[in-house]
Subunit: 272 residues, 2 copies
DNA sequence: TTGGTTTTGGAATGTACATTCCATGAGCCC
DNA sequence: GGGCTCATGGAATGTACATTCCAAAACCAA
């Protein structure tokens, strides 16, 4: 029956599951998806926890283990534990090892970007004053329409914010460059604007923020310095650090802040 | 009394123990020595196993844990588990901790997003195999034209990748949904596609990847699981973890990977 | 529909576990 | 050397756990 024996290591388990995945009944498939998605957690889970995470009954999780040939969940879990304990040195060691691989190599680059992003996230919470953040959320919550603008590098952030704010139920418009939307007529008192710009600051973004503010719009800026030209035209300034590796900058902290803004605005709206 | 609180991470636990070591009675010292010598094993041990390994009674191990301020062995063990996996305590505990910190407030949310993002970045380097990453860069470097596709939440990633790849000198086209660009005629052998999709997977993205591949295009996928429907149609699968806070997911790891891909492709191109 | 088969949920079970408690033992000051 | 405090071992306890089992539900083929 089991021409392949029960998988004794994670790699084999993984390939077995990818192969089986299509043929599995619903609940067992959910199990497969969970253990592949979060193998680290499985190593420590109790059946109940694993089952909850996979959104199945504990018994389904055990059935799943048995299907793969193990005597039960605990035996399958050994594979996940081995994977963790066997090869994994702690984070600093891993990082160093990667660095040694040379910054020129893709994996060295990845390590560097990851580290730099991690550090900027650590500092993010310290850098953003709670009152400032609240103020920003206030402005967005109160707004009838939220204008989002960001170009070049900041464009990705702008598209994300537009998407997230819309999903959260706030009327949002994303300003594209050169589009007809950039008409002063569109700005009304009671609106809010989220403007994002980093060094070297894009003139169009700043100009749009200035116009909006003149039209009575509350401007919330995400930028990299309190003295950035965008900050001058903003009611609330959220400052994020954007560390660079070579020519490119990490956007992690910015996205983290963006997500928070969207979710907090959504939550407030729902509550109020 | 305890000016330092109970150590919540391994580093602090370690320094606490080195400091305490000299003053400890014999059995408790044996405990300290064992957990410092073999922290990996402690993560999986039962009290009985840990006690045996330290050559003490189970009760001694628990006394030891309590001395450090934990409620018992299990609580101390969490620290060792976290170290190994980068995983935070289970979901209920985390939620509770959040509540205590005032998760409802914007600053609490920010802290949570930052933390979750930080952890997923830590695991990113471990999760992406160097060979896979190299393979992905190879495909992109060799391509005459790079197609980028991603919708909904992944759209921001797609816009960023299109921008970054263009800046780095690679001919890139961003596929917008419903646009005229989605013609099979546009795909030629020798092209590459970067497709990004996460749960719940967008059908259009997957369909486009399938079409592209049928047309001889090398498909590199960024997705959240090896069994994601997108993975089936990809030549290279880059798997990223997307931890969620409430309804929203952190994109930090994804953006980190995206930046790396762009820069590495640019660098290789410049060198070659 | 009907009968058979597979899949699922959830209560029941027995075991293994962390933790507690107390009696004994070792070290130490008077 | 007697009495005190701190350290230790190990049996006792209650809980949380993996696993089993069975009945209900869904699915499917005729």
């Amino acid at each position: 029956m089991t021409t392949d024996a029960t998988p004794q290591d994670y790699e084999r388990l993984q390939s077995r599951l990818t192969e089986l995945h299509a043929t599995l009944p619903k609940r067992l498939r959910q199990c497969a998806e969970y253990v592949l998605r979060d193998p680290d957690r499985v190593a420590f889970d109790t059946v109940a926890q694993a089952a909850a995470a996979a959104e199945v009954q504990p018994s389904a999780m055990i059935r799943f283990s048995k299907l793969l040939g193990y005597s039960g969940f605990s035996e399958m879990q050994q594979v996940f534990r081995m994977r963790l304990s066997g090869i994994w040195p702690d984070y600093p060691t891993r990082l160093e090892r990667l660095r040694a691989a040379g910054a020129e190599s893709p994996e060295g680059l990845l390590a560097e970007f990851a580290e730099v992003s991690r550090l900027s996230l650590e500092r993010l919470t310290a850098r953003i004053a709670p009152e400032t953040l609240r103020l920003a959320v206030d402005r967005l919550t109160g707004a009838r329409l939220i204008h989002v603008v960001g170009l070049r590098r900041a464009y990705a952030v702008a598209t994300y914010l537009a998407y997230a704010l819309q999903r959260v139920g706030r009327p949002t418009v994303l300003h594209e460059t050169g589009g007809a939307l950039e008409q002063t007529a569109l700005f009304n008192p009671g609106d809010a604007m989220l403007a994002i710009s980093f060094q070297p600051y894009t003139g169009q973004t700043i100009a749009l923020a200035e116009t909006a503010r003149a039209g009575g719009v509350a401007v919330v800026a995400i930028t990299d310095s309190a003295v950035s030209p965008l900050a001058k035209h903003a009611d609330v300034v959220l400052e994020v650090e954007e560390p660079d590796v070579g020519a490119f900058r990490s956007l992690s902290a910015t996205f983290c802040l963006a997500t928070t803004l969207a979710v907090a605005t959504g939550a407030r709206q729902a509550a109020g």
